[in-house]
């Protein structure tokens, strides 16, 4: 069933990574920006799993385990930060968070 080479999965992962990066760049809503970052991390997970399969090395899958942990930790702190910003400013628009510049 799985007859495509591992490299296709890797390319798909890179494509997803890029879509995520694009989301970070263009969305105004900070929560969506953050979701896009989660998408990037997941894309890397796909790359890890594909490599793991190709190399017959379980370590790639173990990496995914760690990346998930990191994603969870980032989610906790990141959402808390967004909440704190919202409390002070009543906004989650990236364009309106620009007190600090120049």
């Amino acid at each position: 069933m799985t007859t495509v080479p591992a490299s296709w999965y890797v390319v798909l992962g890179i494509l997803l990574f890029t879509i995520g990066a694009l989301g970070v760049l263009v969305r105004r809503n900070l929560i969506i920006v953050f979701m896009a970052i989660e998408l990037m991390l997941n894309a890397v997970n796909l790359v890890f799993v594909a490599f793991a399969r190709q190399q017959q090395a379980m370590d790639g899958q173990v990496m995914v385990f760690f990346v998930m942990t990191v994603a969870a930790a980032e989610a906790a702190v990141g959402l808390a930060i967004i909440l704190a910003v919202f409390r002070n400013r009543e906004t989650v628009n990236a364009d309106e968070v620009n007190l600090l510049r120049w």
Binding site: V33, F66, I81, V85, R89, L99, L100
Partner: protein, 485 residues
């Protein structure tokens, strides 16, 4: 059920790490039982823990080894950084103890996060497994994101945390993709194994390793605030609580360099021909952008942020130079930089009061005359940052640039020297404000803030010591990089 052979644990390499981690937990628990508003005891607890960790690391100086399946090593390189982080975090703790009184920050959480962050830093410096380095970086960063935003009632603190977090997570993504590619090329994440593949792998493997290296460069470049990955730094430095800014400038930058140097020298060394050129460009860009931008700043924290960017550039010069002298110069300069930058931020804190941070340069007018000690301290730090002999900053630059020259990078050295001379302009600009103008604010007597005073004395001592008697310290730095390569 299969039985797992848990690897043999050699405890010695873990000792400093565990001391700091245990201290963090202790502070976390102690915080539950302490009643405000005086949290000095927690600060002391953290300080003692860091000192013990530093002493442990110093005692292990002649030991070597590794533990936990070779993922964590005990070598001088790691010990050097462990001690440096303990010193940097300790100084930050010290100046925080007085700083927090002028803010709404609850000290207990603050100290805990600071110590957690330090644990991450030590991991970055002592591990040779990319995944552990990545996790250490995340431990350090996540605590740092929270620290940047810990003054929750301040919109600027919020904003700093937000920017730091979004961009930090974004950059982590690139770093992680880089690690994935290295894993794809080698099937491993241990640095030595990646080094073998980089040296002897097939063309395809090396292609993957090269691209992985480029992505790692992005991730580390971000953390050390190298141009063009520096744009977060000015905003975050300005917005974060000043003590946290000091911590970022000293500790986090040093930790990022610790991992940066180890990864690139230890495992990507065979590709040096490729990355040296890239680092050359980054170094030039970073120095120039940092220094030129600093010229037009009016806010002292922002000015120091750009100065910190410029210093990342000088440090990259040392990495480009490479070799024992170049890498040792990087280590030495990081130590020097810890003292001078923490000291400079300590003076910034000393000038601020509750509700009035006094970060605008105009507030500094005449401070040198009204508060001779603060003026003297700031003068020393500014001149040292500018690289005026015989202070530590000069010696640091001297080692860095002469290493670059020895390695034959004449133009890079010239650009670096010109840059450091341009930088004198804005550092002296601060002095001119302090000594040549009138009308600024009155600083609170330092005697009323004993911890801050102690931090200032310690950083001053460090700046003089490393400048006037640099040799033994440079020798230590040199021994520390012997274990690399």
């Amino acid at each position: 059920m299969t039985t797992l052979a848990f690897p043999d644990v050699a405890w010695l390499p873990l000792l400093p790490l565990m001391v700091i981690g245990a201290t963090a937990l202790l502070v976390l628990v102690a915080d539950l039982f302490s009643e405000g508003p005086d949290y000095d005891a927690l600060g002391w607890l953290g300080l003692i823990g860091l000192i013990v960790a530093a002493v442990c690391a110093a005692l292990l100086w002649n030991q070597s080894g590794s533990t936990l399946a070779g993922t964590l090593v005990l070598d001088r390189y790691g010990l050097f950084f462990t001690i440096l982080f303990a010193v940097g975090s300790g100084l930050t703790l010290l100046l925080s103890m007085n700083y927090l009184e002028t803010t709404d920050i609850r000290s207990g959480d603050y100290y805990t996060l600071l110590l957690f962050s330090t644990v991450g830093m030590v991991l970055m410096a002592t591990s040779v497994d990319l995944i552990v380095i990545f996790l250490g970086l995340e431990v350090m960063s996540i605590a740092a994101y929270a620290l940047a935003g810990i003054w929750r009632t301040q919109v600027r603190s919020n904003e700093a945390a937000l920017k730091y977090f979004i961009l930090g997570a974004f950059a982590s993504g690139f770093l992680l993709l880089g690690i994935a590619l290295l894993f794809g090329a080698s099937g491993e994440t241990l640095l030595p194994r990646i080094g073998e593949v980089a040296a002897t792998g097939t063309g395809e493997q090396r292609l993957l390793v090269t691209i992985g290296a480029a992505l790692l460069l992005v991730g580390f470049g971000f953390k050390v605030a190298a141009a063009p990955f520096h744009s977060w730094a000015p905003d975050v430095y300005e917005g974060a609580p000043t003590a946290v800014t000091a911590f970022m400038a000293a500790g986090i930058k040093a930790a990022a360099f610790a991992a940066f140097v180890r990864v690139f020298v230890d495992s990507l060394g065979p590709l040096a021909g490729d990355w040296r050129g890239a680092l050359w460009i980054l170094a030039v860009l970073t120095m120039t952008v940092g220094n030129v931008s600093a010229l037009v700043q009016r806010n002292i924290k922002r000015l120091l942020a750009y100065s910190s960017i410029a210093h990342a550039g000088y440090l990259l010069v040392g990495m480009v130079a490479g070799g024992e002298n170049g890498n040792a110069a990087v280590l030495f300069y990081l130590a020097v930089y810890t003292f001078m930058t923490v000291g400079a931020f300590a003076v910034v804190i000393a000038l601020g009061r509750r509700g009035q941070p006094h970060e605008d340069l105009d507030d500094w007018a005449g401070v040198g005359l009204r508060s001779p000690f603060l003026g003297f301290a700031m003068t020393v730090f500014m001149l040292s940052l500018a690289g005026v002999p015989p202070l530590a900053g000069f010696m640091g630059k001297f080692y860095l640039f002469s290493a670059a020259l020895e390695a034959g990078y004449v133009w890079l050295t010239v650009i670096a020297v010109v840059n450091s001379l341009v930088s004198v302009y804005y550092y002296v600009g601060v002095l001119v404000k302090m000594y040549m103008a009138e009308g600024g604010v009155e600083a609170e007597a330092t005697s009323a803030r004993p911890y801050l005073f102690a931090a200032l004395v310690a950083t001053l001592a460090g700046t003089f010591l490393l400048g006037l008697f640099p040799t033994p310290w440079f020798e230590i730095a040199r021994r520390s990089v012997e274990s690399l390569i």
